[in-house]
């Protein structure tokens, strides 16, 4: 494939809609276990750390440790849901089930498939983030009406990690490859983005590194919003998340073209 076409920006078309609807139809059949599955892991961590560590820590940044964790877990469960969908599920459709191949035999382009995957993974992450948001709101850790803006932050976090995940998917040679991404990228990101403790406790250079991570910016938006405050430098956080979403999606497009259209 000529370089100009390989690196061309993705053309966007509404043809992604039937792809998105396909994924939605599959999900609808398994929606309840899927949402519970997305919730179980973060909730176990949330309650375990909240009760256990919370008893030791007392208050953090002027709130209960539970309230501190709430913002972190809303963002991180969104991140994990997007990543699972864009990695394991997309890889199944791309490589194992040959779903993508079937779709591009119809009058659809690879870019339509990718746009559908991206927006679908973001949608599923959005649903997972909303479910977590509903739980922490039910527990009284969301100050309405300001907290409603956290919904927008959750959507951006989903788009950012869906794009990055699809880029990694395009490089994968099997499911095992993804455990590197989870272990070496997402787990450290949890530690560096202020899910469990304020970033200020880390050394300066590490703090600087955290400034480029999408999860950090997601949490910097969600946490104050849940507490009923406007986030500081909100536009900058939104801009970084948008940049991650678009850069990730562009990288996914180029890498997938290289993988499948050669």
């Amino acid at each position: 494939m000529r370089a100009a076409r390989l690196y061309a920006p993705p053309a966007f078309s509404l043809r992604f809609v039937p792809v998105w609807r396909r994924h939605f139809l599959v999900w609808r059949k398994l929606a309840v276990p899927s949402i519970l599955g997305n919730l179980a892991d973060p909730l176990i961590m949330f309650f375990g750390l909240g009760y256990g560590l919370g008893a030791v820590i007392g208050t953090l940044e002027g709130t209960s440790y539970f309230a501190f964790l709430a913002g972190g877990f809303v963002a991180s469960s969104t991140m994990y849901a997007a990543s699972f969908e864009a990695l394991y599920s997309a890889f199944s459709r791309m490589h194992v089930q040959k779903t993508w191949e079937a779709i591009v035999n119809a009058p659809m382009d690879l870019e339509d498939v990718l746009a559908g995957e991206w927006l679908w993974a973001a949608t599923k992450a959005f649903a997972a983030g909303l479910a977590m948001l509903a739980v922490v709101a039910f527990l009284g850790f969301a100050a309405w009406p300001i907290a409603v803006f956290a919904v927008g932050a959750v959507a951006l976090v989903g788009l950012a990690f869906a794009g990055a995940g699809l880029a990694v998917n395009a490089l994968a040679n099997g499911y095992d490859f993804f455990s590197y991404y989870f272990t070496l990228v997402l787990t450290p990101m949890m530690m560096l983005s202020g899910v469990f403790f304020p970033l200020g406790m880390l050394p300066q250079p590490v703090q600087a590194l955290a400034q480029v991570l999408p999860l950090y910016h997601g949490i910097e938006l969600v946490r104050p919003l849940l507490a009923g405050r406007a986030p500081e430098a909100a536009l900058a956080h939104v801009a970084v998340l948008c940049a991650w979403a678009l850069a990730g999606y562009y990288a996914a497009t180029v890498l997938t073209r290289r993988r499948l259209l050669q």
Binding site: V19, V26, K98, M108, L261, Q262
Partner: protein
């Protein structure tokens, strides 16, 4: 003559495609008329599937020109595929959906409205012999049913051209005959069929014209019978058993050509009766007398070596 009839369903000139160090398609020309049933034959690795992918615009050629239903490929391949149905070599049905849902979801990729697709589903299921299975899960279908569903799925847009990559590989004889029957029916309706196969019998039964590919090139092309007539003697005697070498020494003069493959000799001649008579003196030898077919041509042209 109607101008539309003069446009080839598929034409390709000088197609070339390289993957890494190996050039898998090395100068292929194709011209397939509307309504024709065309077979692309070749051993594994001959470049058949890559040629199809190039013609559908799923991968870019390094050189060459392609027109599918008059539209340039890959530039306008997506538009051209509106009127094309594809049955892929590997099963790509959606395992999470029922039979009917597979058709519904696939029809949406063609921009068809749900109501329109639902209107077509009963007829498609009828055609595929799956009318009673609309709500069945894919995992409960046999291999033959899955292949027929893949065929029905490829027809959801009522295509003019149907591209089938090894449509009966892995099917049992009953299932294979049923697929053949359906393909004949589609050809009768005036659709263009382009299929790859390595079953010569399939090509002989279905295709008006075949091209034999090997090493990325088309090495012979024509009607199956014409190819047999042009490349091979009309009668074949397959002989094996103890004393084969001794008999061959005596019978050589009675035969036009002998191909030895391990313990079996494939003997070709215009008339093999004298050779059969000479076999009377060799009671240990077993033989099969049959007319020459496309497989003989294929093996003569592509050799008897394994290609895996």
């Amino acid at each position: 003559m109607n101008a539309a009839l003069e446009i080839a369903a598929l034409s390709a000139r000088g197609l070339r495609k390289r993957y890494g160090a190996s050039e898998v398609v090395r100068g292929v020309d194709l011209e397939i008329a509307p309504g024709e049933c065309f077979g692309l034959l070749g051993p594994n690795g001959a470049g058949k599937t890559t040629t199809l992918r190039l013609c559908l615009g799923l991968t870019e050629p390094d050189a060459g020109e392609i027109r599918l239903l008059g539209l340039p490929v890959p530039a306008r391949a997506r538009e051209a595929r509106r009127a094309v149905g594809v049955v892929p070599q590997f099963d790509s049905l959606d395992p999470d959906f029922t039979v009917a849902e597979n058709l519904l979801v696939y029809g949406r990729y063609f921009g068809l409205r749900d109501g329109e697709i639902r209107g077509r589903i009963p007829r498609l299921l009828e055609f595929a012999g799956l009318a009673q299975r609309a709500g069945a899960r894919i995992s409960t279908l046999s291999g033959g049913m899955k292949r027929r569903l893949a065929l029905a799925r490829a027809l959801v847009n009522e295509p003019q051209v149907l591209v089938l990559d090894e449509p009966t590989t892995g099917l049992d004889p009953q299932a294979r005959h049923l697929v053949w029957e359906r393909l004949r029916q589609l050809a009768q309706e005036g659709r263009t069929l382009v299929l790859t196969t390595h079953f010569m019998e399939e090509a002989e039964r279905l295709c008006a014209r075949v091209a034999i590919m090997d090493g990325g090139r088309i090495i012979a092309e024509g009607a199956p019978r014409a190819l047999v007539a042009a490349h091979i003697e009309p009668e074949v005697l397959e002989v094996h058993g103890p004393g084969l070498g001794r008999w061959l020494g005596r019978a050589r003069g009675l035969l036009a050509r002998i191909e030895r493959a391990g313990e079996t000799a494939f003997c070709y001649a215009d008339d093999v009766r004298p050779a059969i008579e000479s076999l009377a003196a060799e009671p240990d030898l077993l033989y099969l007398h049959r007319p020459a077919n496309l497989e003989d041509v294929f093996l003569k042209l592509t050799g008897r070596d394994l290609r895996d």
